[in-house]
Symmetry: C2
Subunit: 227 residues, 2 copies
Amino acid sequence: MSRILYDLAGEDESLRFSPYCWRAKMALAHKNLAYDTQPWRFSDKDQIAFSGQGKVPVLVDGSTIVADSQLIADYLEEAYPHEPSLYGDAPGRSLTFFVKSWTERVLHRAIALIVLPDIHAKLAPRDRAYFRATREAAFKRTLEDIATHRHEAQIALATILQPLHATLEQQPFIAGDSPNYADHIIFGALAWGRLISSTPLFEANDPLARWMDAVLETYGLPAGLTA
Amino acid sequence: MSRILYDLAGEDESLRFSPYCWRAKMALAHKNLAYDTQPWRFSDKDQIAFSGQGKVPVLVDGSTIVADSQLIADYLEEAYPHEPSLYGDAPGRSLTFFVKSWTERVLHRAIALIVLPDIHAKLAPRDRAYFRATREAAFKRTLEDIATHRHEAQIALATILQPLHATLEQQPFIAGDSPNYADHIIFGALAWGRLISSTPLFEANDPLARWMDAVLETYGLPAGLTA
């Protein structure tokens, strides 16, 4: 297999929770492209030094190396034009950028305030100091303070999910009758939450849970979000 | 002229502030369709009884009567297929529904908590009791209580606008290189705020202000948001 995705892993190598890596995995599935994953930890900077930077996802596709989930999606869209489009036409591609902006500025932040302490506990021990330092600086709060306010964060998330609930009342996927990269972006966020949170982000019969299952089923992927 | 849009007005007949009516006006402009507006107040239910319901916008296009901004947009897209599309392809149309859901559940609510008391003051006196009763029921707060917390609401709005700012850092319009109905939806919300708020929602040189000007310029509409 000549296609490898470097994929963030926890202490348990099978725990693959990065929302950005999930975007890349879903985009590869959407393009009907087989791949192997290489589990990677935050402290394994040397393993991906060949990519010229220090974060995953990194895709190695034959002789092509692409880092950054958005650049990976754009690369796949360009390199595999005969497979289903990730974006649709130009307006759809631009609206996907609004979905991305909302997900990263609002949804990721809301989920992070629930799960950051859980992530810390599930990381390989050698990754934990880096994770604590970078996240506490980004959120300007200690992990312990975030853990104390978990209940408020879960209430806040329910409000933030309202536009998604309203959208899925109207149509089966964010992009309409079938998923595309806009779905992958939001799926990544919720897969992250589902895999890492010590308490469910929403009920098992929530429309968002059913939508996640439908996205996985579209691509023939296992419901357990396994690597 | 055989095309008339019933358009919500304040006590001053030239104050046309409804976000939903702005969507319809922008969609008509996008489709290069000339129209006249008929100023309408909340208490003029009899004037639009012919539409089978009691809210604006109502579009009368020759012998066709359409009420509800989304139904008006869908009607225009179907009836005028040779004019520029409001949505682009199927995924773009579905992503526009996410933009609509976010705008109505999040952005409208945030702006309402700033401007509801201003709207009340600018309505025709005969509209005020209806407006107070319906809005105080919807928000479960008095207009006076909302006015007291205006400053907090303005701070909250700045956070809520972040995904729009991030999007417009990347591309000139929400829908990419030129505006479409996704832009119209958000434009309607911000035009509502600009026209009715007693204090600016954001600075005159804010990227959102420049984007609003660019949307108006695209359609050759006056910067003053006049009827």
